[in-house]
């Protein structure tokens, strides 16, 4: 089986060696052949409803993509991985979906995810966990695990995801693909089901940085329906891909290299640094002294915003509705008990606790102040260096069930990724090798709105390495 990049599909469609209908059918057949083994898709969209209003000169016309089931797409079921929204049909398109639809892209289906994007292993999905194509006893990561597995297994050339604390980058790292979380506000959040509004950001899971550049150009931009979306001009990202890297300075935070990373992964990180040095990049040791507080800060801020955002699920206007309607208060409580899974319930309770009278100052306000310190660390570091690099995760894909009963150990999965969300800076994960046949990823972090730098750096790396082109064995078996 060959996995095609978006760039290759563009060329194939443009020189008419294949029609966009044939491309769509190819992926649909792969999804049908593989979804039972991977469980990456919650629903598969039919051709008629997903075809876009085609702009004839669009460079991505006819390119199909997978959409995380957190994005509204008009007329399609949008479950957010939850029983609560098992019967919810989007009445409108999310802005990023609308932007891509205008360009003639085609939605292949809606991908599986942790319930309401709360999880790092896809085990909190109401629709069963996604399996990692590299080893089906292991997690693909989360929360955008379905999108990651779909791209890794060649069931989609590219996918959209969301990243609140690492939900694009961690699954990208665990499945051997490229995952970009843009700057907070770079893409509109309108029509993207809210988890933690000051942290959520839409992004891309793709084979290559080049593909991410192609899609981001069309997704990003100001939207009057999201007052936190940025008016900053959207650059033509593809034009920066081949810029010379010589003279760029990369910071290596000592807090990411404190000895806690197993030596087998450390070896891969050192190899990739060496590869970058050959391109003329200079490395410099830096410190982000408050980064160690990222996980506790996040687990105050995110549940607080979650408890507020998820108050809307009351069973009245949409979503699951309890059949017990003896009185209104009992009806609300029962609807929410039946509709939400355990992880979501615990975060609502935690968020309610940190916001409740007597605890607000000690927890929520304190966390927002520490968040400011973490942000300052990044701003200070970027006075000295162009970007920051480090591992995306502490380990490769772990076994399903391994951490499911221990939330704190699960939360530590995001130890390297969370700080970018707290500060709002963009970050990208890219594959840098394998340990015991499982992929491992490296993260690059840039100042606000410097996505073109991230894409440029990773693209150059991917021009001289082929880690991002490795295909899981399960895909080869399909051809036999």
């Amino acid at each position: 089986m060959k996995r095609h990049t978006v760039r290759e599909l563009q060329d194939m469609i443009a020189d008419q060696s294949v029609s966009s209908d044939e491309v769509y059918q190819l992926y649909l057949n792969r999804i049908k052949a593989m979804n039972d083994s991977i469980n990456a898709f919650i629903s598969i969209e039919s051709d008629e409803t997903s075809s876009g209003t085609e702009e004839n000169d669009s460079e991505i016309k006819g390119v199909p993509y997978a959409l995380k089931d957190i994005f509204c797409s008009e007329g399609d079921k949008t479950t957010c991985g939850s029983k609560m929204l098992s019967n919810f049909v989007s009445p409108y398109d999310a802005t990023v979906v609308k932007n891509l639809r205008k360009k003639g892209t085609i939605i292949l289906g809606k991908t599986n995810m942790d319930e309401f994007a709360m999880g790092s292993s896809n085990e909190t999905s109401f629709y069963g966990n996604v399996l990692n194509p590299w080893d089906t006893e292991r997690t693909p990561g989360g929360s955008s695990g379905g999108s990651a597995a779909a791209v890794a297994a060649g069931m989609a050339p590219i996918a959209l995801g969301t990243d609140t604390g690492g939900s694009i980058r961690q699954p990208a790292a665990l499945t051997g693909i490229t995952g970009l979380k843009p700057t907070y506000g770079r893409c509109s959040r309108y029509g993207m089901i809210a988890f933690a509004s000051s942290l959520d950001q839409a992004g891309i899971l793709s084979i290559s940085a080049e593909d991410a550049a192609i899609f981001l150009e069309h997704m990003a931009g100001y939207d009057h329906k999201d007052s936190t979306s940025s008016m900053e001009e959207v650059p033509k990202y593809t034009e920066f891909l081949n810029d010379n890297l010589s003279g760029k300075v990369v910071g290596l935070p000592k807090e990411f290299f404190d000895g806690s990373l197993d030596s087998k992964y450390q070896g891969l990180v050192s190899d990739s640094i060496h590869e970058y040095e050959k391109m003329g990049i200079k490395f410099k040791d830096i410190s982000l002294p408050n980064i160690k507080y990222s996980v506790p800060t996040y687990y105050v801020v995110a549940p607080a915003e979650c408890s507020s955002n998820l108050a809307r699920y009351d069973g009245v206007r949409f979503g699951h509705r309890s059949s017990d309607d003896s009185d209104l208060d009992a009806f609300y409580k029962k609807t929410r008990k039946e509709g939400f899974g355990q992880e979501v319930k615990r975060r609502i309770i935690t968020g309610t606790y940190v916001l409740s009278a007597g605890y607000y100052d000690a927890y929520y306000l304190k966390a927002q102040k520490v968040r400011q310190l973490i942000n300052q660390d990044f701003l200070n570091a970027f006075k000295e260096v162009d970007v920051i690099m480090g591992p995306t995760t502490q380990q490769s894909a772990f076994k399903l069930g391994e951490k499911v009963d221990d939330p704190v150990s699960m939360y530590m999965n995001d130890i390297y990724t969370i700080s970018s969300n707290l500060s709002g800076v963009p970050a990208i994960s890219h594959p840098i090798g394998f340990v015991d046949d499982l992929p491992f990823g490296m993260q690059v972090i840039a100042p606000h709105f410097m996505e073109h730098d991230l894409l440029n750096i990773v693209h150059k790396y991917q021009m001289v390495t082929d880690w991002h082109l490795q295909i899981p064995g399960i895909c080869r078996e399909l051809d036999r």
Partner: protein, 95 residues
Amino acid sequence: MSIKKSEIEHLCNLSKLNLDEEEQSIFLSQMQSILEMIKELEGVDTGEIAPMAHPLQMSQRLREDEITEFNERDKYQKNTDFAEDGFYKVPKVID
């Protein structure tokens, strides 16, 4: 720092969420370890630091007071079987 079962019950009431006995006891121990982790923030010196509510320094934009959106009630009410004459039906709230 510890959390009591009665506090979990209070939080359930505030967040309009029923938990059964088993969930309550699981949450009690899990929240204990989450609060232990969060406790680490206590020691951080944040004396003069302003809380960060938003990643970007930007102010709220205003638009012209013109009608841009129209009422699409019927379309939105297709997401429930419990709408009638444009209203949503809820359990009886007054006797």
